[in-house]
């Protein structure tokens, strides 16, 4: 069995009176891709937004329970520190429009006021862009604005920006839902490559995508974690009838 990196215990998330995530327990293993799937509004995005403490920024939103990164409870740590260890990529590519490609990749250091010398920055940028499979496409125009890139390239730029911080985990919230099939494939391939260094949690409502790339899959429905297992088992022989129905396309 792989090492555990993230342990979620009795996690509940609320938006005011609305109970969005209900008593979720799951363990995420190091250097794996874990997919979280489920119909719209099932709480899958809220679940990962609890992990980097973005959830609580919404007015009236709060969480109860525990999430352990190794042995530290994320929910009682400083969110600023947590977010530097757990990166995130969003549904819609959101590079910083005022910054060049180079500055976008190094943004996590630069905006945070972390000082370092030029060569160190160059190395971080080059490595991150290579890992995000974007280096060859942009190495000659690092000084150009990131907003000029195509949607797929922008999304890979956002991935590069997240991994430049050398996080333990990255959370991806439907990262390919705004992209064409070719860009989607490229991102799926790079995630396979990335999991050697980083643990990946990906939210998707694309069942085929979850099946293609994930080692573990969680199925959520109406805020509850219905089933969580190895993807091989989940997609061939799910233990919960609800999962079976969802996979067959009966709802969702």
């Amino acid at each position: 069995m792989e090492d555990q990196i993230l342990t979620i215990r009795n996690l509940n998330a609320y938006f005011g009176d609305f109970h969005a995530v209900k008593n979720v327990n799951m363990t995420v293993y190091k250097n794996t891709i874990t997919a979280i799937m489920g119909p719209s509004g099932c709480g899958k995005t809220t679940l990962i937004r609890c992990i980097n403490r973005l959830h609580e920024l919404t007015e009236g939103a709060y969480t109860t329970g525990e999430i352990y990164l190794k042995n530290n409870n994320i929910l009682s740590m400083n969110p600023i520190i947590i977010r530097r260890q757990i990166g995130m990529v969003f549904q819609k590519p959101n590079p910083f429009p005022t910054m060049s490609i180079y500055d976008n990749v190094i943004a996590g250091y630069k905006i945070n006021g972390i000082k370092m010398d030029k060569t160190e920055m160059d190395t971080i940028v080059e490595n991150a862009l290579k890992k995000a499979a974007l280096w060859d496409e942009v190495k000659d125009k690092l000084k150009q604005k990131g907003a000029f890139l195509s949607g797929g390239q922008q999304q890979r730029l956002c991935i590069a920006r997240a991994i430049a911080m050398k996080p333990e985990i990255i959370l991806l919230d439907e990262p390919t839902s705004a992209l064409d099939p070719k860009s989607t494939l490229k991102i799926e391939e790079l995630l396979e490559e990335l999991k050697k260094d980083i643990t990946i949690l990906i939210v998707t409502h694309n069942i085929a995508q979850a099946a293609r790339i994930s080692d573990y899959t969680a199925f959520m429905y109406l805020g509850e974690l219905i089933e969580y297992d190895k993807s091989d088992k989940m997609f061939t022989n799910p233990s919960n009838p609800k999962t079976n129905e969802y996979l067959k396309g009966c709802f969702g």
Partner: protein, 283 residues
């Protein structure tokens, strides 16, 4: 056949409608062009380098320029910008960041109302608050009145531009562990730069032509004055004083000064639109 006729009729109505729009627009532009033409024809004859680099001379003497008023106008602009811009931008940030809160909405409405306060009232307020206690007219008191006039435009421009910035940009910064203040200063404000800049330049254009707030504050002077604690001349004040004088040669100088002033206002507005285009960010 019937359909054919009705479509003909529709085309005719469309043509009349389009034509009316052109005609009405041109009609309302006519007085505007007349005003410009009038100022240019009356003002241009005295315009010379000398006019711009010499101070006014007493009645009876020929020549003389508007240097003191020109310098005074720029000093007043710089001073009021220094006073208004930091507060205006900060208030704009506050309003956009708290746009869902009741009291911020009240303040926002209040700022809108503030825009409609007659400028003479602001002049009187600066007179009561600053001139009376120190018993001295000064450029500083004039700048205070002008900066209060600038505030609503800057606040509104900042607020509206910031509201256009998608939340996803903020989330991008948060997800990198960037604290709130750095997110605002390093990510959100730079993205709003073009809107804030153009709002500020428009507000500068607006105050550079103001006379009323300066009547009881900067007061005006015939000398070239650099000291902001002393009375200072400005282009609108000079125009006002020359225009109401009984001397025809002063009236002519007033026209020329008006031309200079309009050119300055025009340049600020031009800069505003160039700056807005150059740094505009589409989301």
């Amino acid at each position: 056949m019937n359909e054919y006729i009705s479509s003909k009729k529709r085309e005719r109505i469309d043509k009349i409608f389009k034509f009316s729009i052109y005609i009405i627009t041109f009609t309302i532009l006519i007085p505007l062009f007349l005003i410009f033409g009038f100022i240019i024809t009356n003002g241009i004859k005295n315009i010379s380098i000398e006019f711009l680099i010499k101070n006014p001379v007493p009645v009876g003497e020929t020549g003389g320029g508007i240097l003191n008023a020109l310098i005074g106008t720029f000093i007043l602009i710089i001073l009021s910008s220094v006073l208004a811009i930091p507060f205006g931008i900060t208030a704009g940030i506050y309003l956009s960041e708290n746009s869902n809160k009741k009291y911020a909405q009240y303040i926002s409405t209040f700022v809108d109302v503030f825009q409609g306060i007659p400028s003479i009232v602001l002049g009187i307020i600066a007179y009561v608050w600053i001139v009376l206690p120190v018993k001295k007219f000064s450029a500083l008191s004039g700048a205070v009145a002008l900066s209060i006039m600038m505030l609503p435009t800057i606040i509104k421009a900042t607020e509206e531009t910031l509201k256009m910035i998608p939340y996803s940009l903020k989330e991008a910064a948060y997800s990198l562990g960037v604290p709130y203040h750095r997110t605002i200063l390093k990510v959100i404000l730079p993205a709003a730069f073009s809107g804030i800049l153009s709002g500020t330049l428009v507000s500068i254009g607006r105050i550079s032509g103001e006379t009323a707030p300066l009547l009881f504050t900067a007061f005006g002077s015939n000398l070239l004055e650099w000291n902001i604690f002393k009375p200072m001349n400005s282009l609108p004040l000079l125009i006002f004083n020359y225009a109401k004088s009984p001397y025809p040669e002063w009236h002519e100088l007033a026209w020329s000064a008006s031309l200079v002033l309009i050119t300055i206002v025009f340049l600020f507005n031009l800069l505003a639109s160039i700056g807005e285009k150059k740094w505009k960010i589409k989301f």
